[in-house]
Amino acid sequence: MKINENFIFREVAGEAMLIPVGTEDICNGLLSLSAVGAEIWKCYARGMDENETMALLRENYDAPEETLRQDLEEFTQQLKEYRVLLDEETDGDS
């Protein structure tokens, strides 16, 4: 899994967002991220996998393990649907 470099992560006025800049985007608006979403994105951008990201969330958030894991999985799936995250095997070098 790798991040799609055709999206730029920006933080303005404390609000995080992903803006498509490439030529094969599936949206021409932006993806607005919550604070947790932004933290997860930063983990992936640093090359961390889901397990490492989960460990960081566990450290930083006082929420049940199951809730955190479910949120992480759902958000990761969303990022994949929007092709913000790419499967290295199926998406090649895109």
């Binding site: 730029i8 609000e15 803006i19 932006l30």
Partner: protein, 373 residues
């Protein structure tokens, strides 16, 4: 954790309102307008900026440097406008470079210069939205108002943009030269499910008329503009919606409001700025005046000066106490263009608003009478 595609659905979504509100408090220039050129292949009679003179526009490299500086300060929304932006030979270099910075770009255009090659490029690197001004509903009207019989070219392009999945909005400026086409233009929009932003108020073009405030020879009288304002609203809304708006906004007498002139109410100089073709920053493009030269001061300092200027501006005292203040389209820029000052009562707009309110009352009374019969 993600709100998904928050800007692709509506015209002005809540996220945008929230961001403007936050950025206004923090002094962040969220929304920029880059007036890339004053050149245009049309020659519209009421244009406030058109000039085909051989002038020294900012280069593509300068626009890109300006974009980088603005992004660093927080710009997310950018409108590319002109003149006609596509009249620049280096338009694509500017657009594509700015887009890669992580900006949501809208483009104002007359849509007559977008050929198939450019359309393909727009499809590959889509803007947030294309704002296409539709000047009429026939070649005759286009020739009369714009000097070019471009109606079919423009409408073909609009449909190709829409077919290609590029979000497209129509702009409409109603003047004596195209007033007869208003219903047909709305018919075109309805047939193709396109949103229209329309106005019958034309700013005096003080940027190109030698600074003659209030002088706008190619616009309606105030009373005619009011009649068309009502027609535009009737084209867009049902009778029930219009009547409800009238009731919801009330018709209170606000004469007891404190007589101090108010600060300006729009986003200009709070979260939004305008850069002219030659690199001067203004609160908005309708502000006549020198502004602040970015080459001289740098982006951040120019923005700080625009903000400070805007903070000092006051609207007319009479506006704060006016019965019609909630329904009036007056703004600081229109006061300035009409009178030379932001705090001077703009007679034309007062007459237009008064006539509009009278026309609404008459229309509602006729509607009620018809219902009683």
């Amino acid at each position: 954790m993600s709100e998904k595609n928050v800007l692709t659905g509506g015209v002005e979504p809540r996220w945008s309102y929230m961001m403007h509100s936050k950025c206004a408090r923090l002094g962040i220039p969220l929304a920029g307008n880059f007036e890339l050129t004053t050149r245009c292949n049309f020659n519209c009679k009421m244009c406030y900026v058109h000039d085909n003179g051989n002038k020294q526009e900012l280069s593509a490299r300068e626009w890109l440097a300006l974009g980088e500086a603005a992004v660093k300060e927080g710009m997310v929304f950018l409108l590319l406008t002109g003149g006609e932006p596509f009249a620049r030979e280096d338009f694509w270099e500017i657009y594509s470079g700015l887009r890669r910075m992580g900006l949501l770009i809208s483009i104002n255009t007359n849509a007559s210069l977008i050929d198939n090659a450019m359309l393909d490029k727009l499809v590959k690197e889509p803007p947030l939205r294309m704002n296409v001004t539709l000047y009429g509903a026939s070649n005759d009207t286009y020739r009369q108002l714009c000097g070019q019989a471009a109606y079919h070219t423009v409408t073909d392009t609009i449909l190709r943009l829409k077919q290609a999945g590029i979000q497209t909005r129509l702009n409409l400026s109603v003047t004596p030269d195209n007033a007869a086409d208003v219903s047909a233009i709305f018919g075109f929009a309805r047939a193709h499910e396109l949103h229209i932003k329309a106005s019958s108020y034309m700013f005096p073009p003080v940027r190109v008329n030698g600074g003659c405030y209030g002088d706008a020879p190619h616009r309606f009288t105030a009373e005619e503009a009011a009649a068309y304002m009502l027609q535009l609203r009737r084209e867009r809304y049902s009778m029930e919606q219009l009547a409800k708006e009238w009731v919801d906004k009330g018709d209170d007498d606000l004469d007891c409001v404190d007589g101090q002139g108010e600060h300006i109410r729009c986003r200009a100089g709070k979260t939004a700025f305008w850069v002219t073709w030659d690199g001067r920053m203004l609160p908005c493009g309708m502000f006549p005046g020198e502004g602040h030269r970015i080459r001289e001061h740098g982006f951040r300092a120019a923005w700080d000066m625009v903000r400070a200027d805007t903070e000092q501006l006051r609207m007319p005292t009479a506006c704060g106490a006016c019965t019609y203040r909630e329904r009036c389209t007056v703004c600081a820029a229109s006061c300035l263009a009409e009178t030379g000052r932001t705090d001077r009562r703009p007679e034309y707009i007062c007459r237009m608003t008064d006539a509009y309110m009278q026309a609404c009352k008459t229309w509602l009374e006729e509607r009620d009478n018809n219902e009683d019969q």
